[in-house]
Symmetry: C2
Subunit: 179 residues, 2 copies
């Protein structure tokens, strides 16, 4: 690539609880244009297999899509929180499971054209079941899904969450016994 584009001006147009919306005036290849950027604190997801050949997933209501989704457990980083600590916290809050050890699996940028979010996926080891402690107003139902069924749901489009698709296919391709 030639010269990297330059941000000439940043205008914060909305500062929310979770995201900040910035309008940037940028200069690239001699032209000035405006870009909308959604600044996000970052997130984590957890791939966990509490029983042989079963993956821990959640039925969760997604306001942005106005529907329920089937996803692996995940959450947004609190200010100053380390990804691994966030993963341990979210896993326990949402599903009740405690991980003896969390292994970094991969990181993804969910939507780099508009969103600064970076999401780190951890593989959970040495799981112990417990009681979930959902946040007020959160409706999350933890479910154990046979791996073959989760893969079939990716193939036929019933599972479409990008972190879930990426994490499960990544794990199967690069990490599982059969890989």
């Amino acid at each position: 690539m030639a010269e990297p584009p330059e941000v000439v001006k940043r205008e914060c147009v909305f500062r929310g609880k979770k995201v900040v919306l910035e309008v940037q005036t940028v200069r690239a290849a001699g032209r000035t244009s405006r870009r909308e950027v959604v600044l996000h604190p970052g997130a984590v997801a957890i791939l966990a297999f509490p029983e042989p050949d079963k993956v821990l997933m959640e039925r969760i209501w997604r306001y942005a899509l106005e529907r329920e989704m089937l996803e692996i457990p995940a959450g947004t980083l609190e200010p100053g929180e380390a990804p691994e600590a966030c993963a341990a916290r979210e896993l326990e809050e949402e599903t009740g499971y405690r991980a003896g050890r969390l292994e970094r699996l991969l990181a993804i940028h969910p939507s780099p054209g508009i969103l600064s979010e970076r999401l780190e996926v951890f593989l959970a080891h040495d799981l112990k079941a417990g009681k979930p402690r959902p946040e007020a107003g959160e409706q999350i139902e933890a479910v154990l899904v046979p791996i073959d069924e989760a893969l079939a749901m990716i193939q036929d489009g019933r599972v479409t969450d990008s972190k879930t698709v990426a994490a499960l296919l990544f794990w199967e391709r690069f990490m599982s016994e059969s890989a």
Copy 2:
């Protein structure tokens, strides 16, 4: 899941060129809370193999991340545009390649916790090379990457774009000759 949550009030706090930011007051499990939702028109991506065992990718500057990324070609839907038409247009504009046929491969929701975006991935067939016609100020460099190298870059974290990770692993798992 019990009763689906209900959106009590929608407040548009920013209407941009590409996204709309809405603050929703929602009622779930008897509690009222506020949610930030980024409304996005939807997007497409294209998985193309112009040469045997080589995948078409792009080096593209991402303002949201302030860095260059290596991704498969993609673009945002224009108002009223069909995903397949958008895929054909973006592929040709950004890389110069024309597809004789586009096959729907999978759809993903890149970041369902905050973003309404749905992204559809097409597999391009019968490719013909041509001249790219980039939009003003866009810096995109098309590159042909051996599939094995692209997979190695997913494994070691040099490729982190969620649509690229999901599309390549999906294709290899469910669509390629060796699957």
